[in-house]
Symmetry: C2
Amino acid sequence: MDAHEGHRLQREKLDQLPALLRETDIDCWLVWVRETIQTPDPVLPAVLGADLVWPSALLFTASGERIAIVGTYDADVVPAELYDRVVPYAEGMADLLRAELDRIAPRTIGIDESRNDSGADGLTVGMKALLVDMLAATPHATKLVSAERLIGGLRGRKSPYEQTRIRDAVRITEGIFDDLDSFLAVGQTEIEIQGFVHGRMAELGVGFAWQAASNPAVDAGPNKPFGHGGPSDNRTKRGHLLHFDFGVQSGGYSSDLQRMYFFGAESEIPSEVRHAFQAVRDAIRLAADVLQPGVRGRDVDAVARQHVIDRGYPPFAHALGHQVGRYAHDGGTLLGPAWERYGDSPNGMVEAGNVFTLELHVPTEAYGQVSLEEDVLVTETGCEFLSHPQRALRCIAS
Amino acid sequence: MDAHEGHRLQREKLDQLPALLRETDIDCWLVWVRETIQTPDPVLPAVLGADLVWPSALLFTASGERIAIVGTYDADVVPAELYDRVVPYAEGMADLLRAELDRIAPRTIGIDESRNDSGADGLTVGMKALLVDMLAATPHATKLVSAERLIGGLRGRKSPYEQTRIRDAVRITEGIFDDLDSFLAVGQTEIEIQGFVHGRMAELGVGFAWQAASNPAVDAGPNKPFGHGGPSDNRTKRGHLLHFDFGVQSGGYSSDLQRMYFFGAESEIPSEVRHAFQAVRDAIRLAADVLQPGVRGRDVDAVARQHVIDRGYPPFAHALGHQVGRYAHDGGTLLGPAWERYGDSPNGMVEAGNVFTLELHVPTEAYGQVSLEEDVLVTETGCEFLSHPQRALRCIAS
């Protein structure tokens, strides 16, 4: 992404902030970071688009003010067009931060800590301790609150720029699946197939939405648990299934899709596989039917989960959907069950502009798992599929 | 870096752990992470070399045991050759973690929090809160201590694999400076010069030790404050200086060097510049003379700082040296003054195997700043220059 495009993103995201601050009852949002190449705060690309070395305080007020207190050597990475004031410091910044907060006089100060949402949990324990020390014996010490809902909204409500980038990433991913239709044949290993995809990605100049070793995940035949592991020398066989979990990163944004192939004619698909495929496909469609602003994440998960149970399958051991953005797993509200490891994220409300995956699998006795994943954009009244939902197994006749 | 080489790194680093745990009086080190693509813990490359999605606990004991409690979908990214046991979980891991800790029965549990060292501060506030909740009402709740010294030692004591990678990065960087000797001419812009370096880096297939926009920093002529900002259309001129701050990343490890050029014959160097250059060069040499295991970081900084003061210059507004490793700024003990923003890091002890920069600048009235930076490896008895220290201004006659 070039600098101009980058600033377009940050301008759109920073413009969302005043309304989000008021909605979440945060008078001032404080992004407090250092050495962000090592310990990046996931919000930084949206509000700065650069890395900072020294301890740095980025302040955003409900009235729309934007202030950056940064080390002298970092001052010229802060785009002047994005910030009202850049305040550089040499030896220490505690006095400068206290003075800005005294002037702003916020009732609440949002900081980047969250049990539920890793995307809103960029503040480290040591940095929080330094902040608490700096604010001790000031009226601001008791004002710190989690900016979780603010950050969830900021990341979750994709701006026009972000929506375009995600559409691009999905389109490129689907294009590579189309290329696979011609490439795939009986007798190839998973490793060979992944190599073909990596070659196409290099030709297209796109990056990986998650680590290359398991992207795409390629699972040939039965008896292979799906996961984030890498491909093996398992070979495609006539009568077997082939599964992909694949996401690219393009222009800084990600896609995340799963697709299923069958080696043989459409008429040769075993009824057990056909039944499983329909259950998965229809569960995604039913979930999409209820996905709209204002619904709770867990209630969307429950629709798909109930459908596979009704069709005679065990429920899947993961959430139905996560948000997609810069990262394949973009944090915020989750379309998931209320399990310990998901924290409070399945209780969040779906919002217009959110991009979610819808993904699940069911087992078969003899053919392994059948698993699909689509990407959808929540609109004002429902949702739009960004991917072309897989309607039938892609059959490789040879 | 291929998987095999990666495991060589992790084997070497994990082998350092039992002694480091005993030295720092930590019975069990707990690396507690989630979604590490978004919120990476800087220690992860050394102890795992992969990314984890679900909340994950990596446990290392003073007796040498290594256990990974990870989500089912993450289980196969944990190299079996590195860990004694991989414990997968589906819905939640609290019971599994408590059971492991009950069995280990540590007196102290080190966690990745640090005010002073960003490289030892990978634990986020939300993750700490989740950990404290899981351990509440167990005997382990009161055992949590900072693993700052442990991590500082682990990252700072470069293993043979790491030393080789850093030597490679320095050699490549010096090679590009040699290429610049032939390329540079009067009348080029900073942007053009940076473009040449980026082209050479692409041809050599090496990455950036910090963000590309300011790597290399290229500063032509006087009246330009050095910093992390990008190059401008300032042009090189006869009689002017040219400054570079440049680091590559190769095989996962970084270099960080500064070099100074003069446009004109050696005999034309103004005496003011000559005097400044000698002060900087000699300050680095004097600091290297006292750099050895057991000396405090601040005491090395003080030697160079005093030398420039003695030579009639104001002291530089930054630390003399930081550690270099995976990152150009690799955390741990700092060769710096006892300023607020450096926390406790200048009070740390230098150890054999540390790699430091030695860098400083002095101003001139008419020619801008004169600044140099070298990379050195601390040995058992002193230090070794990994770079060839710049002895004289590199003169471009044309």
